[in-house]
């Protein structure tokens, strides 16, 4: 399996924001197995709890900053997912500026202390698989605005299979 990372760092977010959004490509093609997600910040030394979600979203998708998935194994070829700002099928983006009207469905809900950040590493039966041709993408989402909006780092890792 080939793994790819979509991440960003040192980012100022708008509030309750989709941090990463990855939408599987049209079928028949590779399915995406999500292996890791993380959120952290380096701006605030004050202890505070922050909610986080992994959620699916159907169209209308968020408006994002385009992000090209990077292979974790440097010699791997490029992903079937490409950079995109509209959250469309086969694209990835970060730090939504507009959330989009499409319904979000939480797959995984958690909360973390902003001093420590949040790392999701599922054991194999708990990985999230988004099949090619899915009507929805998978997002890493802060459902409530954090107290400090600056210097956030976040990302997701998926494998193509």
């Amino acid at each position: 399996m080939r793994e790819f990372v979509v991440s960003d760092g040192g980012i100022t977010i708008a509030g309750a924001t989709t941090l990463v959004f990855i939408n599987p490509i049209a079928a028949p093609n590779m399915n995406l197995e999500f292996l890791r997600a993380w959120v952290g910040q380096s701006a605030n030394a004050t202890s505070a709890q922050q909610r986080v979600e992994l959620e699916t979203q159907v169209t209308a998708f968020p408006t994002l900053t385009g992000a090209t998935p990077r292979p974790l194994k440097h010699a791997d070829s490029v992903s079937v997912i490409v950079s995109g700002i509209a959250g469309a099928a086969g694209t990835a983006g970060t730090n939504a500026s507009v959330e989009g009207a499409g319904a979000k469905t939480a797959k995984w809900e958690d909360a973390f202390n902003v001093l420590n950040g949040w790392l999701w590493v599922p054991t194999p039966p708990e990985t999230i698989v988004m099949p090619a041709g899915s009507a929805s993408g998978l997002g890493l989402f802060l459902p409530v605005a954090p107290a400090t909006l600056t210097n956030w780092a976040f990302g997701m890792v998926y494998g193509e299979r």
Binding site: V5, G10, R36, G40, S42, P71, H74
Partner: protein, 95 residues
């Protein structure tokens, strides 16, 4: 998975806090120790304790040579859970 270093794996600016006792990576993203070092798990798979994933252990984004499923603050030290059980960081190596 392969290896890649990302911004959150290293310290940014002056040390602002020390991670509390019993905070564990995961589900925390990083641990900050009393020297200001940032501990986290990398992307490279390794030999795992039974039933768990294990990855390379990074200190300030650099390899420690250890593979673990968890990093934890415990009694003022950093310890890791490996396929051979718990190891504690002495300031130089894990024993």
């Amino acid at each position: 998975m392969g290896s890649i270093i990302l911004p959150y794996m290293v310290r940014h600016g002056e040390q602002a806090h020390i991670t509390e006792e019993y905070v564990s990576v995961p589900p925390a993203l990083t641990i900050t120790d009393e020297t200001g070092a940032i501990w986290t798990l990398g992307f490279r798979y390794g030999v795992a304790p039974r039933g768990e994933f294990a990855f390379n252990v990074l200190r300030n984004g650099l390899e420690t040579g250890e593979i673990a499923s968890r990093i934890e603050r415990h009694r003022g030290r950093t310890r890791i859970f490996t396929a051979r059980g718990w190891k504690v960081f002495t300031g130089i190596v894990f024993i």
